[in-house]
């Protein structure tokens, strides 16, 4: 087991909701990155939970930027640091709205230019900051304030979109596996070029479960096979331990859905769609890991 530094870069305490996975993820991201780091945060929960002006709880330089501009801003920063001969880590920490919907053109541009930076998307599968509106990342069947009858469209496959840019590193992680996340951030920062980590963030008020279940919910997402932990280094895919185990013996998908208020009253068709999507994704990744496609 890698030794995780004791130093905290999130001072006590942010104004995040009780049981918020975003601060949990950010804690480990910053532990892995260290003090020589600049965070770029577009509009998302993290831009409001930092504290009340003129104070902030984040003990590294952090730049709050417009919703669509995070990756573009980070491109400029990374270039400037390179010209100045500095090795400062530039990390974008964006929610799913700022990545999947609004920020995707800047993200695509930065990856196309092979900007030397790390993009982390923490995905709570809706616009949590403004009161849980549906985003492109919301899974099928989930109720949000703008899809009260359950979403009818499938979740956008962000990883495949990013993978199409041939990044030097692409990984998925989950708030329930902080050690795995720590290792992935550390590895990403040793590589040059554009790196991407997609982290699942189970959101207690948004997904409508009680706050102590955050970690449990992340584990259930991985164990049911709906969220697959893998990493891809220069296109070589490795599926991580917890997901390998889940592919052999998954827990029923209903165990994950029934504990969340947002899936209350979900119909059979939507469950089957979720299931078949997960299976397809797993099969595809297994083939990629074996080097078949």
């Amino acid at each position: 087991m890698t030794e995780i530094p004791k130093e905290e870069f999130i001072l006590k305490c942010t104004s995040a909701c009780a049981g918020c996975p975003s601060t949990l993820i950010l804690r480990y991201v910053l532990k892995a990155a260290g003090s020589d780091t600049v965070l770029v945060v577009p509009a998302c929960c993290t831009s409001v939970i930092q504290g009340i002006y003129p104070n902030t709880a984040v003990n590294v330089p952090l730049y709050n930027v417009a919703f669509a501009a995070a990756a573009a801003c980070a491109s400029g920063m990374s270039e400037a640091f390179q010209k100045a001969g500095k090795k400062t880590n530039v990390i974008v920490y964006a929610g799913d709205g700022g990545t999947v919907d609004i920020g995707i053109q800047a993200l695509s541009g930065a990856f196309e230019r092979e900007t030397d930076f790390l993009y982390i998307c923490y995905d709570n599968e809706a616009y949590g900051n403004t009161g849980m509106q549906r985003s492109g990342s919301t899974p099928i069947g989930a109720r949000t304030t703008t899809t009260p009858g359950g979403k009818v469209h499938a979740k956008k496959d962000l990883d495949a979109i990013v993978a199409a840019h041939n990044p030097s590193y692409l990984a998925t992680a989950c708030a329930a596996y902080p050690q795995d996340l720590f290792k992935k951030v550390q590895k990403a920062l040793t590589l040059r070029g554009s790196k991407f980590i997609h982290v699942l963030a189970p959101c207690p008020p948004g997904w409508r479960f009680s706050s102590e279940m955050t970690v449990e919910m992340g584990k259930l997402a991985v164990r049911s096979g709906l969220w697959i932990l893998y990493e891809s280094e220069f296109g070589k895919v490795t599926i991580n331990g917890p997901s390998k185990a889940a592919m052999i013996k998954p827990v029923p998908i209903e165990d994950y859905l029934s504990v969340q208020g947002r899936f209350k009253g979900i119909d059979r068709k939507a469950i089957d769609a979720l299931k078949s999507q997960a299976e397809q994704r797993a099969k595809h990744l297994q083939k990629e890991a074996e080097g078949i496609c």
Binding site: K12, C13, T14, C17, A18, C20, T23, L24, N55, E212
Partner: protein
Amino acid sequence: MSTRPAISRPIKGASGKTGSWRVFKPVVDKERCNACGICAMFCPDAAISEDLVVDLDFCKGCGICAHECPKKAISMEREEK
């Protein structure tokens, strides 16, 4: 007209004492605790120190520590008013 850049400085307690949000507080049973540190690892606000003492000034009472404790050494007790 000069404009001042909006720069925030890092400080402890930037969001106030969030411990006042709490409805249930975690109570550690030292007899059962084997000091594995899993509670501190999963605490979203790093309110549990290295010596596994909960900082009640900032603990929001989410209960993740109690739920994840493998020894069930942490119980959530209602806050007295």
